[in-house]
Amino acid sequence: MDAAEDEAAVERVLAGDTSGFEGIVDRWQGPLVNLAYRFCRDHGRAEEMAQEAFLRAYRSLDGWRREAAFSTWLFALATNVYRSELRRIPLRTLSLDEIAEPRDERATDGGFEDKDRDRSVRRAVLALPAKYRDALILFYFHDMDVGSTARSLALPEGTVKARLSRGRKILSKKLSQRLGPVRLGEEF
């Protein structure tokens, strides 16, 4: 992603050339849809949420202060949109006590079991209280970078670290009841 290209595109849009926004959509559609998908686990809804994020970005492009990278600003805005959308129309998730499914008895080589376990972990993250869920989703989306996570959530890094730690503990406790002993260490 070229920051200069983003800046040039923003300048074009601010000068009245709407088509300048196409470049921004092309460059950022993948990350924004994927981030939305991690918040809702539904491809259709993820695209709707990402579209809303792009629209909001378009409307408030003049609010981008150049001190931060365009991507930082865009992710923070998108995160806000996704969190608001989830508050407006909550996910149909199971509670943390209900998330884990029975193990697949067909599993012989661990393949099915791994997939089941991975799915259970991801669903468990969505069932977490929102503040822990958001921190965990963004932390792993940003390749485990606490700084980027903190900027996306507009929170101090210390708060993010605390939420990650607490979120991991809750996950560990809930998942260990169903999936066996879980040890989720600190990684930041």
Binding site: T18, S19, F21, E22, V25, D26, Q29, G30, V33, N34, Y37, R38, H43, A46, E47, A50, Q51, F54, L55, Y58, R59, R117, D118, V121, R122, V125, L136, Y140, D143, M144, R168, L171, L175, L179, G180, P181, V182, R183, L184, G185, E187
Partner: protein, 115 residues
């Protein structure tokens, strides 16, 4: 599940590919949005003097009310009507029913489509 398993599961997620028409749909929405006139700003300049006057009247009335309450006890100011008899209540109920019927009837006439 080991220490790094959560990291492995949550960071190595399959990358979702946006559908083919996604970017076009976004740009359509953006173009539609750009043609919509900006919302009319709230007329603070006009409202502010009136709001100040209203605030002033409210404060003045409150002060007058409090002064009145200090001078006269509440029981002297408010004299609750005492029910005289059941006949009076019946007349009140009847008048309310008649008023309600009159209002409904007139609204029905007013909402009727012209022929």
């Amino acid at each position: 599940m080991g220490d790094d398993d959560l990291a492995r599961i949550l960071s190595n997620e399959q990358w979702v590919i946006p559908s083919a028409g996604f970017a076009i749909a976004v740009m359509d929405a953006v173009r539609r949005d750009s043609t919509v006139p900006p919302p009319i700003p709230f007329p603070w300049k006009r409202i502010l003097p009136m709001a100040l006057v209203a605030m002033f009247i409210l404060v003045a009335l409150s002060i007058a009310g409090i002064t009145l309450l200090i001078e006269y006890p509440l029981s002297q100011l408010i004299q609750w009507p005492k029910p005289r008899n059941a006949v009076g209540a019946a007349w009140i109920a009847l008048s309310l029913v008649v008023t309600s019927l009159a209002v409904r009837l007139s609204m029905r006439f007013a909402c009727r489509k012209p022929y």
